[in-house]
Symmetry: C2
Subunit: 141 residues, 2 copies
């Protein structure tokens, strides 16, 4: 069922792959201004949530809740923003962004606001280590 799944090249270019959860690839967007992660269900040919079967939908949202809790609890976000847009990249992917009242786009949406600021290597490593620790035992590769 997963064998035909391949990450969309635009997501591969913009993000770092943190690992694979039960259903989804967990990606970190390379923008140091926000803790911004993307879940990509590893199912081929899916563009809308409702195209996943019922069990996969439930698993996607379980992974989403766990990631959103990480953003709130471990990152201390003031608000979590969740979005499935896909107007430019059709492969289903769900953004999860920890928002802060002093972040550059607050209180507007982050999408289309301004160009990303890539992480410094040390900050990137800290971010990846932190989310790996949160999902420890549930992430492969």
């Amino acid at each position: 069922m997963n064998s035909d799944f391949e990450l969309h090249p635009q997501l591969a270019a913009d993000c770092l792959s943190v690992g694979r959860l039960s259903l989804s690839e967990l990606l970190l967007l390379n923008d140091a201004r926000y803790p911004w992660f993307v879940l990509v269900p590893a199912r081929a040919g899916i563009t809308e949530v409702f195209e996943l079967d019922e069990a996969d939908q439930q698993q996607l949202w379980r992974e989403s809740a766990r990631l959103a809790t990480y953003l709130k609890v471990a990152c201390g976000a003031d608000k979590v923003n969740i979005g499935a847009l896909g107007n430019l990249v059709p492969q289903l992917h769900v953004h999860h962004i920890g928002r802060f009242i002093d972040d550059p786009a607050w209180p507007g949406p982050v999408w289309g606001h301004s160009a990303a600021t890539p992480y410094e290597p040390a900050a990137l490593q800290l971010r990846v280590d932190s989310v790996r620790e949160w999902f420890v035992g549930d992430l492969t590769n």
Copy 2:
């Protein structure tokens, strides 16, 4: 459990209430440029999806999938955008917008793009009748 739930006044001002699903208030945003609906779980004091209990989360996403299918199938949307932001209105509410490649904000997000264009009364009635028909039997009031 629902007794303390009251719709946030900003949502009440911007939207028309279509009715109540099993969990959520179904609202229509008064912007004729997009078929744009909002689900508001009728639970008091909730700002993030993960604060709902597990059963409510599953119900929210079932209602979401059904609404997104309506936007795709009945409205003929090219893409469905789903977003839970809440930076300005903290009460948990999940946007569902049918997007078209010739809509004013395409391919950007609709949030923060430009001011809404209120419906003409006849178009509003058509939209409400159409979504009520989709959810017939599952909507109260």
